[in-house]
Symmetry: C2
């Protein structure tokens, strides 16, 4: 299965309409779901992760966890997304063969080349726009996406993407986009999802 | 090997005299070393962890990591210490058979009983004193240590222990004490270590 399209990354789990938002977005057609949670303790993450995996599978969508090989293992998720502060790629590749591994490559084309060679299943460049999700997100030059077609693995754009600025990204040969607040903070998450998917048709 | 005595828990790794302090304390006779680091990225933790393990082994002392089964696995440490926000005990026990697992049991005797039954190698009660290492540390009644002799596994006291207040703990049937700042912030870490060990002779 080629990973592409609209990639929904969660906010940290909170006791509210968290799962409703995810399900509205899944039912509107989101293509990949990632559980990202930088703050909750493991017992909460395991519980929330199980519910998210069930939701993802209900809609036939791959379920990815962020950062934690332990969560990948306990939830038996489809894959894991890692960045520069996380456990090493090589370790995860060896210990969890067959799992999807996605890597944040920020604005660094050489990092992209490195991880494609090491066997990453996708890479994600960004941020190209200001994002409220990650205070310390590096800003990158959008022109790095001119290199997207050089990769044989899917290239995603991530960081501060919303329904207004997404068109700027669709000029490039990317496989998809990853979003957090644009869906989690939307008045209508299902509608926001459909708007993104409509625009993404251009590249899919 | 029964775990007992003076258990040195590190501060987060910092680029300074971090390793010197650890080695001074090891050479003065510390009995167990734990690498605790809540802030550094994994690449730093792996590097610092390797150096700490080498130091621990140079002095024939068990090397424990804090929180992370991934670090336990990558460093092939002797064991792991977990608290309530960390990956579940049962998961670690199953995935890493033969590794030492220590558990923070705060001021909760039932938690101690639970983890002894599940196969913990030691438990740690505390804090009994104010600690600067952990801002949100729960304060517990020191009388919980009256139950120490009921356990068949080693019971440690942890949290805000220094060379002045340690005597209060030594009235109880504990196996040892864990310290951070009392050694890391000591003018002379080797001397602080020797002072603790001298006092601990009473219980060992």
């Amino acid at each position: 299965m080629k990973l592409s399209g609209l990639y929904l990354v969660t906010k940290d789990y909170y006791n509210g309409n968290f799962f409703n938002i995810v399900e509205e977005s899944l039912s509107a057609g989101v293509n990949i779901l990632q559980y990202r949670d930088k703050t909750n303790p493991y017992n909460i993450k395991i519980e929330a992760g199980r519910r998210l995996k069930n939701l993802a599978y209900k809609y036939n969508v791959p379920f990815i966890v962020d950062d934690s090989p332990v969560l990948l293992d306990i939830l038996d998720a489809d894959g894991i997304h890692i960045g520069k502060d996380d456990p090493p790629f090589e370790y995860i590749k060896e210990r969890f063969p067959g799992k999807i591994i996605g890597v944040s490559t920020y604005g660094d084309i050489n990092l992209g080349i490195k991880y494609e060679r090491l066997g990453a299943d996708y890479i994600a460049f960004g941020s190209f726009f200001k994002t409220s999700t990650k205070d310390d997100a590096e800003m990158c030059d959008i022109n790095i996406l001119n290199n997207a077609s050089k990769f044989n693995i899917p290239v995603f754009a991530i960081g501060g993407i919303n329904t207004r600025n997404v068109d700027e990204l669709l000029k490039y040969k990317i496989s998809g986009i990853a979003v957090v607040s644009a869906i989690f903070d939307a008045a209508n998450p299902g509608e926001a999802t459909r708007t993104f998917l409509e625009k993404l048709r251009k590249i899919l």
